[in-house]
């Protein structure tokens, strides 16, 4: 598998070189920006909407013929995920089979200016890892009799239902083949990390230019402090939560008694 990856990397490198040679000739380049490069998770975080906008820079008049499309991909940090499946045992539903999905992003959103199929060709989808199934990596061998594809699909379905994986077709507004913009909604149940953001310019489904940047998602303030304390000094955190809870309980009952008396 590593060998194959290496091979793909080689192909990618070759393609990148090829593109560098082609690009000046085609003369179309994407320049883009984000409304924010940093998302702070605070105690009252309810999600965040990121505006992604940009323009197509040209040295020569736009080529005619094949339509210009824009594809935007925002991808959260990837982690291994254990997917468990329930089955009926002794009359109740119990987790029985498990498959380790080697890597699945915690968040994945694709927005396109046309339908996904019209915006990117199958070959370039594979090459640039754009559609959702391309984001999930499954290499380990599964137990016998299990189809690991079912488990990978379950990841897509469950995270899709939670609003974490989404494909939004026709969501990128493209004006006069030059200016584009789209909004990506980051939901409240985000995990921390670097969110890789890619913007592709395609002609006839083939990538003509790409731009990549990072959105930093971080817990801040009190949330940051609590999370760090809980993980780095768990004993201190445990004692502190007991003290705070006892004080809050006592305080609330004292306050209530005071209110009743007056």
């Amino acid at each position: 598998m590593n060998l194959a990856r290496g091979g793909i990397d080689m192909i990618r490198l070759a393609l990148a070189l090829l593109m560098l040679m082609i690009l000046p000739a085609r003369g179309e380049q994407v320049v883009a920006g984000l409304s924010q490069n940093r998302v702070s998770i605070t105690a009252t975080f309810v999600g965040s909407e990121i505006l992604i906008f940009g323009a197509v820079k040209r040295d020569a008049p736009a080529p005619v013929g094949e339509p210009l499309e824009v594809v935007v991909v925002v991808e959260g940090p990837s982690h291994p995920v254990t997917v468990r499946r329930k089955a009926k045992r002794w009359g109740i539903w119990v987790n029985t089979d498990a498959v380790l999905v080697d890597s699945a992003p915690s968040f994945y959103a694709v927005a396109t200016s046309n339908t996904l199929a019209n915006s990117i060709s199958e070959i370039d989808d594979l090459r640039h890892h754009i559609s959702i199934p391309q984001a999930i990596r499954l290499v380990g061998e599964a137990q016998e009799g299990l189809n690991p594809r079912d488990f990978a699909e379950a990841v897509v379905r469950i995270r899709g239902d939670a609003g974490l994986y989404k494909v939004e077709e026709n969501a990128v507004k493209l004006a006069q083949d030059t200016l584009f913009d789209t909004r990506i909604l980051l939901p409240a149940n985000l995990t921390e990390g670097e969110y890789r953001t890619r913007i592709y310019l395609t002609r006839g489904g083939y990538v003509a230019s790409q731009y990549e940047t990072i959105i930093n998602v971080q817990k801040v303030g009190l949330e940051r402090w609590i999370f760090n304390l809980a993980h780095e000094r768990p004993l201190v955190y445990g004692i502190l939560s007991l003290v705070i809870a006892i004080a809050a309980g006592w305080g609330a009952s004292a306050a209530f008694r005071l209110i009743l008396r007056t």
């Binding site: 998770i41 605070t42 975080f45 539903w93 995270r159 609330a252």
Partner: protein
């Protein structure tokens, strides 16, 4: 107002949590129970991960029992010696329980363990309570007096006897330690204080006088749940401070209101109401296990 819980990593409505705390608080004030066995399943229903619900609830129980035990100390209705013996068992039980919890968590079966324990215990307790209060209602209607007599059982023939002055008992320390261990295990895997098991065990098994039972069990519960909280906090990182405080504020206020309502209702009616509620929660959890879930797959943190 949505609030992001830093440890549970979910965003929930703060007023929903205050309200839940309040409702469970009213019930616990009315019936004189801890309420942990109702709160933890309710937290599952609103989408808090079971591991976080159990650990956080243990934290909350410490706080809500604290003001209770102070009142009992003032009235001198705590058998400290018995409390300490129960506590020794409780600490052992909590350590065992957290071990079991972590072992099953690694196997992906912790939700099943927690839910199954709830179905079994709520089913038994709710059923017994329902039948008993039904019988009591029948009896009071018939007018026959309910007699209680202390019996001499096998409990009194065990070695390592000890004098418990406040309770007026001279019994072996083995049964209280065993009761303590069982309650400790329950505290660790179910996120409950265990009063609903301990109180009947103290009355019927150990033969303690009713007036010291509640204070003594509260005394034991505080230390066992505090220990459980620390164990969960250090091994699982699943105690959510914010969640605990919100539930607690609602809970304490609710308990005060509940205690005032409770005085106006008759004991049997109260008990039968509580029994019905316990059975309803039990039924809901049982259905979750029995009916085919709409999503058969479940995601867990990766790695082994």
């Amino acid at each position: 107002m949505q609030i992001y819980l830093p440890i549970a990593e979910v965003s929930v409505n703060a007023f929903l949590l205050l309200g839940l705390g309040g409702i469970v608080g009213i019930l616990s004030g009315m019936f004189g129970v801890g309420g942990g066995f109702l709160m933890t399943p309710l937290l599952f229903f609103i989408g808090i991960p079971p591991a976080v619900a159990v650990a956080t609830e243990a934290n909350q129980i410490v706080a809500s029992s604290f003001s209770g035990v102070l009142a009992h100390f003032k009235r001198k209705t705590v058998d400290l010696r018995m409390g300490l013996v129960l506590l020794v068992g409780g600490l052992i039980g909590a350590a065992l329980g957290v071990q079991l919890f972590n072992y099953l968590k690694a196997m992906g079966q912790v939700d099943l363990l927690v839910k199954l324990s709830y179905v079994i215990f709520l089913g038994i307790i709710g059923g017994l309570m329902f039948l008993e209060s039904l019988r009591a209602i029948m009896k009071t209607r018939g007018g026959a007096p309910v007699s209680t007599r202390r019996k001499h059982t096998w409990v009194h023939n065990l070695p390592f006897k000890m004098k418990f002055r406040t309770s007026g008992l001279y019994i072996s320390v083995i049964p209280p330690i065993i009761v303590g261990v069982l309650v400790g295990i329950l505290a660790a895997i179910m996120g409950v204080g265990g009063g609903f098991i301990m109180v009947p065990a103290m009355i019927y098994l150990l033969g303690m006088p009713t007036k010291v039972v509640v204070g003594t069990s509260l005394f034991q519960i505080i230390f066992v749940t505090a220990f459980t909280t620390l164990l969960h906090a250090t091994t699982n990182f699943t105690v959510d401070m914010g969640l605990a405080v919100l539930l607690l504020i609602g809970g304490v206020i609710g308990a005060q209101i509940g205690a005032r309502i409770g005085v106006k209702l008759k004991a049997e009616q109260l008990r039968i109401l509580l029994a019905i509620m316990v059975l309803a929660v039990c039924g809901k959890l049982a259905l979750d296990l029995l009916l085919m879930p709409s999503e058969l797959y479940e995601l867990g943190a990766g790695g082994h």
